[in-house]
Amino acid sequence: MTEATTPTPPSRFNLDGTLTLLQRLGSVIGLVLLVIALSILSPDFLTTGNLLTVLRQVSINALIAFGMTFVILTGGIDLSVGALLAFSGAITAGVMAAGQSAGLAICAGLGVGTLLGLINGVLVSWGRVAPFIATLGMMTLVRGLTLSYTQGRPIGVSNTGFALLGDGYVAHLIPIPVIWMFVLFAVCGFVLRGTVFGRHIFAIGGNEEAARLSGVRVWAIKLGVYGLSGLLSAFAGIVLTSRLYSAQATAGSGYELDAIAAVVLGGTSLSGGRGWLFGTLVGALLIGFLNNGLNLLGVSSFYQQVVKGAVILIAVLIDRRK
């Protein structure tokens, strides 16, 4: 808890400026150091092609992590994102396989993801279920729905227009998922910093009771963040389906942990109320560059997981000690 005791007017976001500036810089400095190190170690790393490749690899995780940031800022957690990604992707592919248009299929996928996210919100706000448990249950439930809907088989997609969504390029250079990532980063950043909804998210994360007493409709905000997380997961699922030309029944397993890692690496507090979306983008990039760099260096995949885990632990430790 940071109390503003300085004579300067209290920040609108309940943030202690200098401390968080350090915390903020931490992830950025880490990213810069990693990029410098990899550039020296691998001649193939610092090329336009490779950097764009990493951005594309990161985009799916970043989209999910943006939604996760909203949830974590309220002090919650959403473990169902990977499952929602798989289910929304399957619905989208299934609707197309049934002969409907890509537009309708995308709406169906986004709709399903948002609806399931809103149900998470209902469980957490009205049901007073701990977010960890509510979304864990949802994750299991939706995994089951996905398997029964797909019968465990991949659903192929042949619609060429739809394939552009995740596999296309702008100007033969920039992968389209990268555009989605930056557009949604801008939109989510605005929602978080420029709207009443965003301010109330920080208020709830800082002190839920105080927020309630000062007239914030806590249930509505929670419904909103879990719905948004569902929507973004569904969108990520649709982009992934397009990229793989097929919806995989087991897609996205473990993605919730990558998303949480990105948010935490970015300096957002797991107890809510403190954090920023740019950090999440940096965190997702850190994970992506690490994956890519270790592959380029030919590091055995067994050690790659050890390195990744260690980096997350060290980053969080440094963050806590400041």
């Binding site: 490779n50 192929g156 990229r243 030309y245 995989q248 473990g254 979306l277 890519n292 030919g298």
Partner: protein
């Protein structure tokens, strides 16, 4: 508002950084192709493996590594941990590393066509190992003759049971060509030989799932007297389910011939396994890659022979 501006500025910087590199990006395309045109000098092969959480693929990787070391080639291995999205990333990383040939052991047959296309665009030939990629243009496909192996298993079972079998079939990861071909080879031959397949269910080539799926199937079908598992791992799980003892004699036949599987055959727990030679698949992969690196022609498909391992032939 200050923070909003900060975020906007940061977004702009990242965008600007990406856009300003448009020039070199276009210039890098021809240079990539020229480096592979001089591919004779490139001694690096990439291997994108589906998982290393399965002894079969570990053996395949070991076979490839030994062959590469013997030939003086560098082998870079990327592991997909059974996630197609991760495998696409791995293949992209290999393309960026400008390896001479990519050996691809796909996580599944439907999702990797785009990744193969990307490699082809970068003039890197792709050789698929063990599983094929639907709708992709590959230089060669090296795999066991799974159709023949499935038939081999069915023929053996029908001999053991004198044509009167009620068979449970444990299927592999749906959508993989290995699961499809083994299943088809087995099912077709079983029909000819008069075996009855009373239930089929996927256990995803996984031992733990093989155990739970078999438990459920035995509950539902107490009349079963044979199990065909599309790989050894699932069969070993099934053997654990049979260990509980309440079931009469159930003949188990599996596929792959991993060390654990062959040991189960020797111990008399499993009747037979159709042995693949994963190390041989890896070795042939590297051999094919070597030919491609020196611009020799290669066969479009290489069938690696299988053999039935029974208690008699195992010892």
């Amino acid at each position: 508002m200050r923070k909003l501006r900060l975020i906007a500025a940061a977004t702009f910087v990242v965008f600007a950084a990406a856009c300003s590199q448009q020039g070199p990006g276009e210039a890098s395309a021809p240079s990539a192709s020229s480096s592979s045109a001089a591919g004779g000098g490139n001694k690096t092969i990439g291997l994108a493996i589906s998982t290393q959480n399965n002894p079969f693929f570990v053996e395949l990787k070991d076979g490839a590594q030994k062959a590469a070391a013997a030939a003086g080639l560098q082998l870079v291995v990327v592991d997909a941990q059974d996630d197609p999205a991760r495998q696409i990333s791995g293949v992209e990383d290999l393309i960026q590393k400008k390896v001479g040939v990519i050996l691809l052991n796909p996580t599944d047959s439907s999702a990797l066509a785009g990744a193969v296309q990307s490699a082809n665009n970068a003039h890197i030939p792709v050789v698929t190992l063990d599983r094929a990629v639907d709708g992709a243009n590959v230089a060669s496909h090296i795999a066991s003759d799974n159709l023949a192996g499935g038939a081999m298993a069915a023929k053996f079972l029908s001999q053991q049971l004198q044509g009167k079998g009620n068979v449970l079939e444990l299927q592999g990861v749906p959508g993989t060509s290995a699961a499809r071909d083994r299943g088809k080879g087995f099912d077709d031959e079983a029909q000819k030989d008069g075996l009855k397949i009373i239930a089929q269910q996927p256990a995803n080539f996984d031992r733990a799932q093989g155990l739970s799926v078999t438990e459920n199937l035995l509950q539902a079908h107490p009349d079963a007297n044979a199990i065909f598992a599309q790989n050894d791992e699932m069969a070993l799980g099934a053997l654990r389910a049979l260990d509980s003892g309440k079931h009469g004699s159930v003949v188990v036949v599996a596929f792959d011939g991993t060390p654990d599987g062959i040991k189960a055959v020797k111990d008399g727990k499993m009747a037979a396994t159709v042995a693949q030679q994963p190390g041989e698949i890896g070795r042939l992969g590297v051999e094919t890659a070597q030919k491609l690196l020196s611009n020799q022609s290669v066969d479009k498909g290489v069938a690696v022979p299988l053999k039935l391992v029974t208690k008699d032939s195992a010892n």
